[in-house]
């Protein structure tokens, strides 16, 4: 069998996986989760969708803890399931080159576990492991965006990472992390809805749907708050007759007995957390009653972007600000890019160009990393950074970790 290239962007929300099949390459997406529905059945990835359309009381078992891949007993069945979907035939790891992503700053022992599974359990023949952001320069349109100097803002399920990538290498000293991602927003929205409306805490999928279909980033928070009554919407909750997922009401034609969730300021207060992280701590009586938390200044997305840029060599800074790329599912929040642009322009020197890209010729923002991996697999440089099974068994897993691992910052 001839050599094949498999790319896995192993996100904690979705796995994006697929082979390099030239122009046709396309990832399949599988929720990186094992679930148990109310009736006690266990499902891998998206299997639960075929089993039932009532997701209340669904339970999740994730291979990840705080973004770190800790549980291979959970991850392996999901990978096996994913591999079946990527290929009509059984995949043959012994003739496959694997490009795999993992979170930046993974605990070294956990990276080693991953390498051992890749080589010893699956027996992949060749392997390259990296942080997802480092693949983005390979998927952007180089006629529009400079691909030697990029500031990647990767807002995913767990966190928002700000990652300078210079000459396709992560500039580790400039990496910043804001512990706000899709999951934190979901849970904050859930707290608001639970207190103001109904208890929806036993249906995390519904919470996610409400967030994705109603939340937006305010252009100007104070003005939007003043006019909050004009910014309301009505979300029709699932009744399992007309709708199984729920949807935002657009016309007057809804059944009279439909259960309606009227949302106003929740829609933009929740995403505002990116600019005012104190919202997370004020909505909770333990942290709201604590004077230390109340008086602590929090840095927001803009502060951390500035710190990230200023941690990079001076000559690169205006280049980074002119080539900022948004990736990850949470950057899909309506109006994320325009708000970020206007805030950043206020804060960065006026003679710097600020360009923030979030439209990549029909590539979804959470697939940029995967397509970057596919393009990398066509490049000659890959053979210089790849580790082969033979080398792995010769030098061992600690050596392998040293080749791929992050450098400690001192």
């Amino acid at each position: 069998m001839s050599k094949q290239h498999l790319v896995i962007d192993n996100g904690s929300y979705n796995i994006k996986a697929g082979f390099n099949t030239g122009e046709e390459s396309k990832p399949i997406k599988v929720p990186n989760i094992i679930s148990k529905t109310k009736d006690g059945h266990i499902h891998i990835g998206n299997q639960y969708e075929k089993h039932t359309n009532n997701y209340s009381q669904i339970q999740f078992k994730s291979p990840f803890e705080q973004g770190h891949l800790t549980s291979w007993e959970t991850e392996k069945p999901i990978w096996d399931y994913t591999f079946d979907l990527t290929s009509k035939k059984e995949i043959d790891p012994s003739s496959t080159h694997l490009i795999l992503t993992e979170t930046p700053f993974q605990l070294p022992q956990l990276s080693i576990n991953t390498d051992q599974i890749v080589f010893e359990e699956y027996g992949f023949n060749e392997y390259y492991r990296c942080a997802p952001a480092s693949l983005v320069p390979f998927s952007i349109d180089s006629s529009v965006i400079n691909f030697d100097f990029n500031l990647i803002i990767d807002s995913g399920h767990n966190f928002t990472w700000i990652i300078p990538v210079i000459y396709q290498n992560i500039y580790w000293a400039g990496v910043k992390k804001l512990p706000i991602g899709g999951k934190v927003l979901n849970n904050l929205l859930k707290e608001f809805v639970n207190f103001r409306h109904y208890d929806i805490s036993d249906d995390p999928i519904l919470v996610n749907t409400i967030k994705e279909s109603t939340c937006f980033m305010a252009d100007d928070f104070n003005q939007t708050l003043k006019k909050k009554l004009n910014n309301g919407c009505e979300f029709i909750l699932p009744d399992f007759k007309i709708t199984t997922t729920g949807f935002v009401k657009t016309t007057e034609t809804i059944p009279p007995d439909a259960q309606v969730l009227k949302l106003y300021d929740e829609r933009f207060i929740v995403p505002e957390t990116f600019y005012h992280p104190e919202i997370l701590f004020d909505n909770n009586s333990t942290t709201s009653s604590n004077q230390l938390v109340q008086s602590a200044p929090f840095k927001n997305l803009i502060d951390l972007i500035k710190e990230s840029i200023y941690a990079c060599p001076e000559i690169t800074r205006p280049l980074l600000s002119a080539n900022i790329c948004l990736v990850g599912g949470t950057t899909n929040i309506l109006n994320f890019q325009p708000r970020l642009l206007s805030e950043l322009q206020k804060e960065l020197p006026s003679n710097w160009k600020v360009r923030i890209f979030d439209n990549y010729n029909d590539i979804p923002k959470d697939e940029m990393q995967w397509y970057g991996g596919i393009n990398l697999s066509n490049e000659d440089v890959l053979k210089d950074i790849t580790i082969s099974k033979k080398e792995y068994f010769e030098h061992g897993s600690n050596w392998c970790q040293k080749q791929f691992g992050f450098k400690n910052i001192t």
């Binding site: 094992i34 266990i42 891998i44 339970q59 999740f60 078992k61 994730s62 803890e65 770190h68 800790t70 549980s71 291979w72 007993e73 392996k76 069945p77 096996d80 399931y81 079946d84 059984e90 700053f105 605990l107 070294p108 022992q109 576990n113 051992q116 599974i117 010893e120 359990e121 992390k177 512990p179 999951k183 805490s201 036993d202 995390p204 928070f221 708050l225 207060i269 005012h276 992280p277 104190e278 919202i279 004020d282 009586s285 333990t286 709201s288 009653s289 604590n290 230390l292 938390v293 109340q294 602590a296 200044p297 929090f298 840095k299 502060d303 951390l304 897993s397 400690n408 910052i409 001192t410």
Partner: protein, 227 residues
């Protein structure tokens, strides 16, 4: 990197301070020997337990008057704990569950044609080598991996990332007078009424600390969500 090599210089930034004081303590006791051999022996014995390191550091800061600017104040440690507690609350999904023993996915490609002959299918075997067998049966949580990690700089770096968004400058200003950064600008915090979501005039419930905007909302708060 070895523990003795941790930089003691002045440009240690807040994200790498995490365990510095305890590191210095252990390094000091080892260094007293001043003998290469015994340092080596001692080093292999040291067990860096995350919890005990954190406790040790808290005690040092409370009882000791060392003021070298590298120690985290007890206030900073307390603040970090509160922040991480709230963040992990917001990071949790619904109830999780335990996978059945030896749970695995059977490939649609697996041979056997309906027969239940497990040995015929490569995929039904878990753990090809002793290391992967161990990994696939580990059932360990993140904390146990942190406690096992011997490279303190890795731990410092990874845990420190979670607090990059908290500005500790004010808390540590007495210790770092000359190193204190200029605060470029103080952004007023957004204070929203816990009942109606409107802007609160920084008036807070005296019992629980949540913000309210009006007498009406305060009364509602007392009836509904005050702890």
């Amino acid at each position: 990197m070895l523990i003795e090599e941790i930089p003691k210089g002045s440009n240690v930034n807040s994200s790498t301070i995490y365990f510095t004081s305890s590191i210095n303590l252990s390094a000091r006791s080892i260094k007293q020997n001043d003998d290469g051999e015994s340092i080596k022996k001692n080093r292999t014995k040291v067990n860096y337990n995350l919890t005990s390191l954190m406790n040790a550091q808290t005690n040092i800061n409370q009882n000791d008057s060392i003021n070298n600017g590298q120690l985290k104040s007890s206030q900073q440690i307390q603040l970090e704990r509160l922040v991480s507690k709230r963040l992990s609350e917001l990071d949790s999904t619904t109830k999780s569950f335990e996978l059945p023993k030896n749970f695995q996915y059977t490939s649609i490609h697996s041979t056997g044609g309906g027969g239940n002959d497990k040995s015929s299918s490569k995929k039904s075997r878990l753990g090809n080598t002793p290391s992967t067998k161990k990994i696939l049966a580990a059932k360990r949580n993140l904390n146990s991996y942190f406690e096992e990690e011997r490279n303190l700089i890795s731990i410092n770096t990874i845990l420190g990332l979670n607090y990059q968004f908290v500005d500790f400058t004010d808390l540590n200003k007495n210790k770092n007078k000359n190193k204190r950064r200029k605060i470029e600008r103080i952004r007023p915090k957004l204070r929203l009424c816990c009942i109606c979501g409107n802007k609160s005039n920084y008036t807070r419930c005296s019992l629980c600390g949540l913000y309210y905007c009006s007498v009406k909302c305060n009364n509602l708060h007392r009836e509904s969500r005050c702890t």
